[in-house]
């Protein structure tokens, strides 16, 4: 699948400029980059939740699931939050269980902690089968154990549905663990993309090397 014309500017300042992005079904892509490098903008454009300016983003006709950087809990129980995105009650319970929220299914979602809210939001999104999954820092509020559980859940989902996954992360370790390919963004541009091994360990690009070096300190 190819997404074309991923461009966005605010008040004349271009925050993302990408002509095209090709993704393969069944693969997991990690997007890394500094604060403000345009990762969330890329995720939103890919997911189609952001108004375009000028050049409209062209997307193949796919079902896309998107998890925003800021998770939102609806004012109802966790179980009902899950059922917003589908009606399979058993699947809802399994997904909550997979992220260790099973015992909270009747609790008020607004009362969850930050990490718990993110876990619920991920589980809620996975209620439905999408062809492209876009996750904006799904585990940035989660502890290590939950992060690993979430990664396993995402991988299982990918294996079952054969979807492509675009996952924004600040963790180089996470990118190495989960991604088939890493995309490095800087100042709204795609600097480099490649296998984790190549991009993280043996990049020939000066900007990438500096970024990775800084992060692994």
């Amino acid at each position: 699948m190819v997404l074309r014309n991923l461009k966005k500017s605010y008040n004349g300042r271009c925050v993302l400029e990408l002509d095209e992005l090709s993704l393969e079904k069944g693969k997991i892509y990690a997007v890394i980059g500094a604060n403000g490098s345009g990762k969330s903008t890329l995720a939103k454009l890919a997911a189609g939740v952001l108004g375009h300016d000028g050049g409209r983003t062209e997307k193949p006709d796919l079902s896309i699931g998107y998890m925003p950087q800021k998770s939102f809990a609806f004012r109802m129980s966790l179980r009902k939050n899950m059922l917003i995105n589908g009606d399979d009650a058993q699947r809802a319970q399994e997904l909550l269980g997979a992220l260790k929220l099973g015992h909270l299914s009747e609790a008020k979602a607004k009362r969850l902690s930050g990490g718990e809210t993110a876990r619920m939001a991920l589980a809620r999104l996975l209620m439905r089968d999408y062809e492209l999954l876009v996750l904006d820092e799904p585990s940035s509020a989660m502890d290590i154990e939950s992060t690993l559980l979430a990664e396993r859940l995402i991988r299982d989902y990918r294996d079952r549905t054969g979807c492509a996954v675009l996952i924004v992360t600040h963790s180089i370790n996470q990118a190495e663990r989960i991604a088939d390919e890493v995309l490095f963004l800087s100042e709204g541009r795609l600097i480099e993309r490649g296998s984790p091994e190549k991009l993280i360990k043996h990049s020939e690009n000066e900007i990438t090397r500096r970024f990775i070096e800084f992060y692994s300190k």
Partner: protein, 230 residues
């Protein structure tokens, strides 16, 4: 003063037909105007808070201006519309409860919109992004937005009701405070005071205050629930 208070309380429990009628007209008028204002105002508040269309900012500014419309000005305008030479004279609304309800709707609807709009525009971006991210239909997203606003709608309603109960300027001009017809508590308090009948005025004042107390207790309970219960 003490005996006046004593007599007023006695009067409240004496089952006076005049008092009963005044309270009944007040309740009818306030419920009709606050509920209608809510039915008109909530959709507009939601639209202003969640929609984006040309002219929205201007409409919001106009609404803020209308929120500050002095009741007597509203009363005057309605009077001019409904009176013997006014354009709406054939509707025969002057000195009727319906006419008073219309005047109050004009006063209260902007307040309902003004309480809903900032609330909705505060929560809508997150809801929209989350719902769109799941691929949920617009109509279902609207349902989620309204569900998320339920406490705000309720406390807005109570606010509208207490405004309707306490308002005097517009209803006295449009209704004319006719006994057993359009006399409500606030206008009756004014009349009885002018006549020197402080006992009845005080009795009505106490009833009005008690009503307001109940409403405000409900609002505070609601806010407590919205914060802790969620």
């Amino acid at each position: 003063m003490e005996t006046a208070l004593h007599k007023a309380i006695e009067l409240i429990f004496s089952g006076s037909a005049l008092l009963e009628d005044i309270v009944w007209v007040t309740v009818r008028m306030s419920l009709a105007s606050s509920l209608t204002a809510l039915l008109i105002g909530v959709p507009f508040g939601v639209l202003f808070g969640s929609g984006s269309f040309p002219g929205k900012r201007i409409l919001v500014v106009i609404n803020r201006t209308l929120m500050g419309l002095p009741p007597v000005v509203c009363g005057l305008l309605c009077y001019l519309m409904f009176c013997g030479v006014g354009p709406l004279r054939h509707l025969e609304l002057l000195y009727t409860v319906t006419g008073m309800v219309i005047a109050q709707i004009i006063l209260i609807t902007p307040i309902v919109i003004g309480m809903m709009e900032p609330f909705v525009s505060g929560i809508y971006p997150d809801i929209r992004e989350t719902a769109r991210g799941m691929g949920i239909s617009r109509i279902k997203t609207l349902g989620l937005l309204i569900n998320e606003s339920r406490y705000q709608i309720f406390s807005t309603y109570l606010m509208a009701l207490s405004r309707a109960l306490a308002e005097v300027g517009a209803v006295s001009m449009v209704g004319g405070a006719i006994a057993y017809k359009t006399n409500v508590m606030t206008t009756a308090i004014m009349n009885f005071t002018n006549m020197g009948n402080f006992t009845t005025a005080l009795a009505l004042g106490i009833i009005l205050l008690a009503g307001s107390l109940v409403i405000n207790a409900a609002v505070s309970l609601m806010q407590g629930r919205a914060e802790t219960w969620c």
